[in-house]
C-alpha cells in the first residue's frame, strides 16, 4: 500500500500518523492531560500547532483546544519534549525514542525534583494529597511486606520499620512546586521548568471575569479579589504555561513572561528559535549568554585542572 497519512480527532485524543511499508510515525495528544497552554504551539519548528480558543458554552470557561496540521507536522517531537504536562507523545514503530534528542538537535527539559524519602515522616503523605495532577504516590510497606493502610494505628516500633517510598511520575510533572510548598518537613525541592512572571493589568482586567481562573491547572495561583473583582496572581506555584493568556478576552490584560527554561546544554538552531519564542528575544539572548559563560567557565576549569596535573 502507498504511504498513508491520517489524522483522528476525538474528545479524548488527537492522533496523527504516517504509515509507510516499514515505518510508522505516530503523534498522540492526550486531550485530558492537555491544559490548552501555549508551549507546543510556540516550540513547533514547522508552525503546525494551532491553539483555538473555545466558545464559552456553559458557565465556566473552556480550556483552549490544540490542533495540529497534518500537512505541516514532520513528527520531529519538539512538542513532545517540551510539553510541561507530558500530553504529547511521538513514537516510531510504537517506540517512544526521539531521534531529535539522540542527535542532540533539541535539549532534554530538566525537571529537577529532589527528595530523600528516608527523611520523610512515616505518617506523612501530604505531597500525594496536594498534587493537582495525582502524579505522586507515597507507598508505605510494613515489615511483613504488606502495604500499610493506616499508619496512625500502628505501634511506634512498627512505624519505625515501615519502608516509605515516594514515586513521582516526572514525565508528566509541570513542576508547579505545590508539593514543595506544602511539604511539612521542607525536604522536597522542586526546580521549575520555566521561570518568569505573570502580570495583571488591573485597568484592563474585566470585572468578575473568571476565565483565566477557571482554566488554570494549578489551584490558587489565580484568584479573584472579592473587593474589586480583578484577578490576583500568586505565582509561587505558577508553571508559566500560558493557558490563562489563551483565554483572556482582553488584549494585554494578562501578560505571561517566561525568562528562563531549565534544559540541558546543547547546540541547536531549532532550540534557539524555540527558546526565543518561549521567552522573548531579550530573555532568550540572556539565556544564550549564560550558556556561553558556562562554557567559558568549563574551559577555565579544565585548564586549571590540567595545570594542577602538570604541577
Amino acid at each position: 500500500m502507498p504511504y498513508k497519512s491520517s489524522k483522528q480527532d476525538s474528545s479524548d485524543v488527537l492522533m496523527l500518523e504516517w504509515v509507510l511499508q516499514v515505518k510508522n510515525y505516530r503523534l498522540t495528544l492526550d486531550r485530558h492531560l492537555c491544559v490548552g497552554c501555549q508551549i507546543c504551539c510556540l516550540v513547533c519548528p514547522k508552525e503546525a500547532v494551532k491553539i483555538d480558543k473555545q466558545q464559552n458554552m456553559g458557565e465556566k470557561a473552556l480550556k483552549s483546544k490544540v490542533d495540529i496540521d497534518l500537512a505541516k507536522c514532520n513528527f520531529c517531537g519538539a512538542c513532545d519534549v517540551t510539553c510541561p504536562f507530558g500530553a504529547i507523545k511521538v513514537t516510531l514503530n510504537g517506540v517512544h525514542k526521539l531521534a531529535l534528542l539522540a542527535k542532540e538537535s533539541y535539549p532534554k527539559i530538566k525537571r529537577t525534583i529532589l527528595l530523600d524519602s528516608a527523611l520523610c515522616p512515616k505518617t506523612c503523605s501530604e505531597c500525594e494529597t496536594v498534587c493537582p495532577f495525582k502524579l505522586i504516590k507515597v507507598s508505605k510497606v510494613g515489615f511483613d511486606g504488606q502495604p500499610v493502610k493506616n499508619v496512625v494505628e500502628l505501634s511506634p516500633t512498627e512505624k519505625r520499620r515501615i519502608k516509605l517510598s515516594v514515586d513521582i511520575k516526572k514525565d508528566y510533572c509541570p513542576t508547579c512546586k505545590i508539593c514543595e510548598v506544602n511539604c511539612p518537613s521542607k525536604i522536597l525541592k522542586v526546580t521549575k521548568i520555566f521561570e518568569g512572571k505573570i502580570v495583571i493589568n488591573p485597568d484592563k482586567c474585566p470585572y468578575n471575569c473568571r476565565s483565566c481562573v477557571e482554566v488554570c491547572p494549578i489551584p490558587n495561583v489565580l484568584t479573584v479579589d472579592a473587593a474589586d473583582g480583578k484577578v490576583v496572581v500568586t505565582d509561587v506555584c505558577c508553571t508559566f504555561c500560558g493557558a490563562c493568556k489563551n483565554v483572556c478576552p482582553v488584549v494585554d490584560a494578562l501578560v505571561v513572561r517566561r525568562v528562563k527554561v531549565a534544559h540541558e546544554r546543547i547546540h541547536s538552531g531549532a532550540w534557539n528559535r524555540a527558546l526565543e519564542r518561549l521567552t522573548s528575544t531579550y530573555d532568550g539572548v540572556k539565556v544564550l549568554k549564560a550558556v556561553a559563560s558556562l562554557k567559558k567557565r568549563d574551559i577555565v576549569i579544565k585548564r586549571l585542572q590540567d595545570e594542577i596535573v602538570d604541577e
Binding site: M1, P2, Y3, K4, W18, V19, L20, Q21, V22, K23, P45, K46, N74, C76, A78, L98, A99, L100, A102, K103, E104, S105, Y106, H267, S268, G269, A270, W271, R273
Partner: protein, 815 residues
C-alpha cells in the same frame, strides 16, 4: 473583386494531378479534374501521374517545367504537410523558384474522406485545384533565409533515453546541457531492481552511464532545475533554466554523507515510492548523480547539526536562492519520460484502502536489495512474507474508462517479478497472474514468458472484477472470471500487485507550452509524422527520445536516445540553417506607427520607435501572420500568405453555389492536421467544405470573413488550436478569438444567423472531432436554408461593401 491585380509577367501554369495509385483515382475522377484544370485561366499544361512523389513522377514535373517553360506549378496530390518539402526541391531542381508552387490536397481532403460519394469528392477536388491555381497565380519568388547555428544541444530529462542521447552527442564533440527536474539523473530505470528478459541488475548497468555523463567534459548537468522559458528557433534557441535551491553548494559538497548521519528528521522518500524514509538532508539514492546533498526545507527544523558537521567544508548554505541560468543551444531533445498511474480511483481494487495491495513500482522497491525492506517482500499489515501473491495486469491500461492504450511493458515486468519470486522462494510461494493478453513481442521476450510458465506460475486469463479484504487476517480475495474455462474464479492471496498503466508525465503540458509542441489525447507528445519522423517534434529543432512520446521499454528508449542524438547532430553540425521565408514585412510608407503590431506579435519580433515605421526582426519572426490581421492600416504582408492570395482563394472557392458551401480557414499545425487525420482515418463528412490553409488562425483578417459573406458563403469556420496553450505561435488563437468575437456580434446585429460563423478548436489528434463538426455545420446550413442565406446576403451586402471600401486596402497590393 475587380481590384485584384494580376502580375505583369506572362503566367504559364502547369497542373499535375496525382492518382496516388488508387488512393485518389479510386474515388475521385482524376481525368475530370485534369480536364477541368485545363479550362482555368493561365493553365497551359496539365498532366496526370500515377505517383507524383515517386522518382518518375518528379522527373515528369522537371521535364514539363523545362519543355513548356512553366513558371507556376500546382500539384494536386496529398496534404502539403506530407510532401510540400519534396516538391519544393523538385521545382527548384528544374530551375524554378521553389515558392512558385502550391499543393492542392485532393487525397486527405477528397478521396479519403468522401469515399462513398465520388461525385462530390470530384467536385471538391476540382474546387481545390481551382483555389490552388488562383493562389499560385499571385505567388512571388522568395529566397530562403539563412541563420547561423549554435552547435550545442539541450536535453530535457535525464532518464536512460536522455543519458544515451547526451553521451552520443558529447562523444561526437558537441557541448550538451542536460536538464533534470529531480535531484538525480537516472529516471525510472535507476529505481528498478532487475531488467527483463536478462535479469541483470538495473542500476549496475545504468550507474556507469550516469557517472560517464557527470564526468564527460562536454556534458553539463543541471539537476534539480526547471525549464522556465525557451525563445528562438531551430539553430538558435535561448533557454532559461531555474536551478532550485538545494541549500547545499554544489561545488563544495563532497558527497560524504556525514550530514545525513546527524540529521534527526526523516520524511517519506518519494524515490522509494514512499515505502521508506529519507533524511531531511540527503540524496534520493546512494548512486545519485550528481552526488550532491539537498535539504528539504518542508521538513527541516533548522537545528544546523548538518552545518556543524560539515564544518570547514562550508557546503551548507541556508540562504541559497533559486538561480536562473540562460544558455544558447541549436537543438533540443525532449526525453521527459512518464509517470506511473496510482489507481486510487478504482475502488474495487482497494488500492490505498487495503494495506496489502501494492503497485508494481512499489513491489519493485520491495524486492530490491537496496530498498527499504532490504529486499524482503513483506506485507505491510503484519510484516510477514506472503505465501500467495496475485499479479493483476492492465490496471488502468486497455480500459476505455481510464487509459485506452496498452502500456507496452507491464506484461514483461510482471513476468520478471514472478520469475524473480519463483527463483527466490521456489516452492515456498504460489503466484497467480490475472491477464488479458500476454504481450511479449521482442527479442527474447516470449522465451522469458516460457521461463515463467515452466516455474509453475498460474496464469488466469480474465479481468479482475473486485478484491475483498478479510479484516482479521488482511488476506485478500480476488474475484475474476477465467475466460478460458468460462468459470468465475475466486482466489485467496496474501498480497496483490497491480501492474498499473504508465501515463504522461505530470508537467508535460507545461513543457509542451514552453516548447510549442503538441500532445495527443493520451497526453504524450505528438511526433511530426508517426511513421517517418518518429523522433521529430512538429517544431523544427526539437526532437523526442524515450517514453515521453509513447511508452517504450529500455532497449527501445536507448536506441531512441541515440536516434535523437543523430537527428540533433544533423542540425547542429551545420554552420547555417535555412528558414522558410514566409515571414511578415512592413510597408514603410503605409505604416502609421500606431504600435498595435508590436503588441500583437507573440515573439516580440516587431520593433518600433515613436513616429517611425515598425520594423520586423527577420530571424525572430515565426511567420504566424497575426500582425498582418491586426494591422489597421494594412501595412504588413505575410509572404506566401498575402491578403491578395487568400482573397483569390476565397473567390475561387465561392465561385459556384456559394450558399451551399462551408468555407473553412484551418491553421496549419492543429486543425489542418486534424482535418488531414479525418482523411487518414477515412472519416466520412460532407464534401461541401472548402479549406484555406493558413499558418495560424491569428492570420484570419476581418476582411476575409466580410468578403466571404459578401460573396454569400453558406457557412464560415475558423479552425484553431485549443485554448489556452495549444497555439504553435503562443497566442494567435486568443488574438483571433477576440478579433472575431466583436465582428460576429456586429454581423449578428446586422441580421446574419449566428450559426453561420463559427470558431472551433481542433487538435492534430482530433480527426473524428473535425468530421463531427463539419457534419454539424452542414446540418445547420440545411436548417437555415439557401433562401435565407441569400436574403441575409442582400441585407448585409451594402454595409459590408461600405466597410471594405473604407478599408480599401486591396487597391494597392503591397510590393
Amino acid at each position: 473583386m475587380s481590384e485584384l491585380q494580376e502580375p505583369k509577367e506572362e503566367l504559364r501554369i502547369g497542373v499535375f494531378v496525382c492518382h496516388c495509385g488508387l488512393n485518389i483515382a479510386g474515388t475521385v475522377d482524376v481525368h475530370a479534374v485534369a480536364e477541368y484544370a485545363k479550362t482555368l485561366d493561365n493553365v497551359v499544361f496539365v498532366k496526370e501521374n500515377r505517383y507524383t512523389c515517386a522518382d518518375p513522377g518528379q522527373e515528369e514535373i522537371r521535364n514539363a517545367i523545362k519543355q513548356n517553360d512553366l513558371n507556376r506549378i500546382v500539384i494536386a496530390a496529398c496534404s502539403p504537410r506530407m510532401h510540400e518539402p519534396t516538391f519544393r526541391r523538385t521545382v527548384a531542381e528544374a530551375g524554378l523558384n521553389s515558392f512558385l508552387y502550391e499543393m492542392a490536397n485532393i487525397r486527405e481532403f477528397s478521396s479519403w474522406c468522401h469515399q462513398n460519394n465520388p461525385k462530390d469528392a470530384t467536385e471538391r477536388a476540382k474546387d481545390t485545384v481551382h483555389m490552388a491555381v488562383a493562389k499560385v497565380r499571385l505567388m512571388q519568388p522568395l529566397q530562403t533565409l539563412e541563420v547561423p547555428v549554435t552547435n550545442k544541444a539541450l536535453i530535457i530529462g535525464g532518464g536512460i533515453a536522455g543519458i544515451n542521447a547526451a553521451l552520443d552527442l558529447a562523444e561526437q564533440g558537441f557541448k550538451v546541457y542536460m536538464l533534470e527536474n529531480s535531484q538525480s539523473i537516472g529516471g525510472h530505470m535507476a529505481a528498478l531492481d532487475k531488467t527483463f528478459p536478462t535479469l541483470d541488475c538495473s542500476i549496475c548497468i545504468e550507474g556507469p552511464k550516469m557517472v560517464d555523463c557527470s564526468r564527460h567534459p562536454n556534458i553539463t548537468i543541471f539537476a534539480y532545475s526547471d525549464l522556465v522559458k525557451v525563445d528562438g528557433y531551430v539553430g538558435n534557441f535561448r533557454v532559461k533554466i531555474r536551478k532550485n535551491p538545494r541549500y547545499v553548494i554544489e561545488e563544495k559538497c563532497t558527497g560524504c554523507g556525514e550530514c545525513k548521519d546527524v540529521c534527526p528528521i526523516e520524511y517519506p522518500n518519494e524515490w522509494d515510492m514512499n515505502l521508506g524514509t529519507r533524511k531531511a538532508i540527503s540524496v534520493p539514492f546512494d548512486q545519485s548523480v550528481p552526488l550532491v546533498y539537498a535539504i528539504n526545507r518542508d521538513y527541516c527544523i533548522e537545528c544546523y547539526k548538518c552545518t556543524e558537521k560539515c564544518g570547514e567544508r562550508q557546503a551548507i548554505d541556508f540562504d541559497q536562492q533559486p538561480a536562473e541560468v540562460e544558455i544558447e543551444v541549436g537543438a533540443i531533445i525532449v526525453s521527459t519520460g512518464y509517470d506511473v498511474y496510482e489507481p486510487y480511483d478504482l475502488p474495487l481494487l482497494g488500492y490505498g484502502k487495503y494495506s496489502n495491495v501494492v503497485t508494481s513500482m512499489e513491489f519493485e522497491r520491495l524486492i530490491l536489495a537496496a530498498g527499504p525492506t532490504g529486499g524482503k517482500v513483506i506485507r505491510q499489515s503484519d510484516g510477514q512474507k506472503p505465501r500467495r501473491i496475485a499479479f493483476i495486469l492492465c490496471v488502468g491500461s486497455r480500459d476505455k474508462n481510464k487509459y485506452p492504450y496498452c502500456s507496452n511493458y507491464c506484461c514483461m515486468y510482471t513476468l520478471k517479478h514472478v520469475v524473480q519470486l519463483k527463483e527466490k522462494y521456489k516452492e515456498d510461494i504460489e503466484v497467480y497472474v490475472f491477464y488479458m493478453d500476454i504481450r511479449s513481442t521482442s527479442k527474447g521476450y516470449e522465451e522469458f514468458y516460457d521461463r515463467a510458465r515452466e516455474r509453475g506460475v498460474n496464469f488466469v486469463r480474465g479481468r479482475v472484477s473486485r478484491i475483498d479484504e478479510n479484516q482479521n487476517t488482511h488476506n485478500l480475495t480476488v474475484h475474476s472470471e477465467d475466460t478460458l474455462l468460462g468459470n468465475p474464479i475466486e482466489v485467496e492471496v496474501d498480497m496483490v500487485v497491480l501492474a498499473t498503466a504508465s501515463i504522461a508525465k505530470k508537467g508535460s503540458d507545461n513543457i509542451a507550452r514552453i516548447l510549442n509542441i503538441s500532445r495527443g489525447q493520451d497526453g504524450f507528445f505528438m511526433e511530426a509524422h508517426p511513421k517517418l519522423k518518429p523522433l521529430d517534434a512538429p517544431t523544427d529543432g526539437i526532437f523526442y527520445a524515450g517514453a515521453c512520446a509513447g511508452l517504450k521499454d529500455i532497449p527501445y528508449s536507448v536506441s531512441q536516445g541515440s536516434g535523437a542524438a543523430s537527428r540533433v547532430a544533423a542540425v547542429i553540425s551545420k554552420p547555417k540553417w535555412q528558414i522558410e521565408p514566409i515571414i511578415s514585412i512592413v510597408n514603410q510608407t503605409k505604416c502609421t506607427s500606431c504600435g498595435i503590431c508590436v503588441n500583437a506579435c507573440p515573439y516580440g519580433a516587431i520593433k518600433h520607435e515613436k513616429n517611425q515605421p515598425a520594423t520586423i526582426i527577420t530571424a525572430s519572426c515565426h511567420g504566424c501572420g497575426t500582425c498582418v490581421a491586426e494591422c489597421p492600416s494594412h501595412a504588413i504582408t505575410q509572404m506566401h500568405f498575402t491578403d491578395a492570395q487568400i482573397m483569390a482563394q476565397i473567390h475561387a472557392a465561392l465561385q459556384d453555389n456559394p450558399e451551399e458551401k462551408i468555407l473553412a480557414f484551418l491553421c496549419n499545425w492543429c486543425s489542418y492536421a486534424g482535418a488531414d487525420l479525418a482523411g487518414i482515418n477515412r472519416c466520412e463528412y460532407p464534401a461541401n467544405v472548402r479549406v484555406i490553409r493558413i499558418m495560424c488562425s491569428g492570420r484570419v483578417s476581418k476582411e476575409f470573413i466580410l468578403e466571404a459573406l459578401r460573396l454569400s458563403a453558406g457557412m464560415i469556420l475558423i479552425g484553431a488550436c485549443h485554448l489556452p496553450y495549444d497555439c504553435h505561435y503562443i497566442n494567435g488563437n486568443h488574438k483571433m478569438k477576440t478579433r472575431t468575437d466583436t465582428l460576429k456580434n456586429m454581423l449578428t446585429k446586422l441580421g446574419m444567423s449566428p450559426q453561420r460563423f463559427r470558431i472551433e478548436y481542433v487538435s492534430a489528434a482530433e480527426g473524428i472531432h473535425y468530421a463531427e463538426i463539419i457534419k454539424e455545420i452542414n446540418q445547420q446550413r440545411k436548417n437555415i436554408g439557401t433562401k435565407q442565406i441569400k436574403e441575409e446576403t442582400t441585407k448585409l451586402k451594402p454595409t459590408i461593401e461600405r466597410m471594405l471600401k473604407t478599408k480599401n486596402h486591396l487597391t494597392n497590393p503591397p510590393p
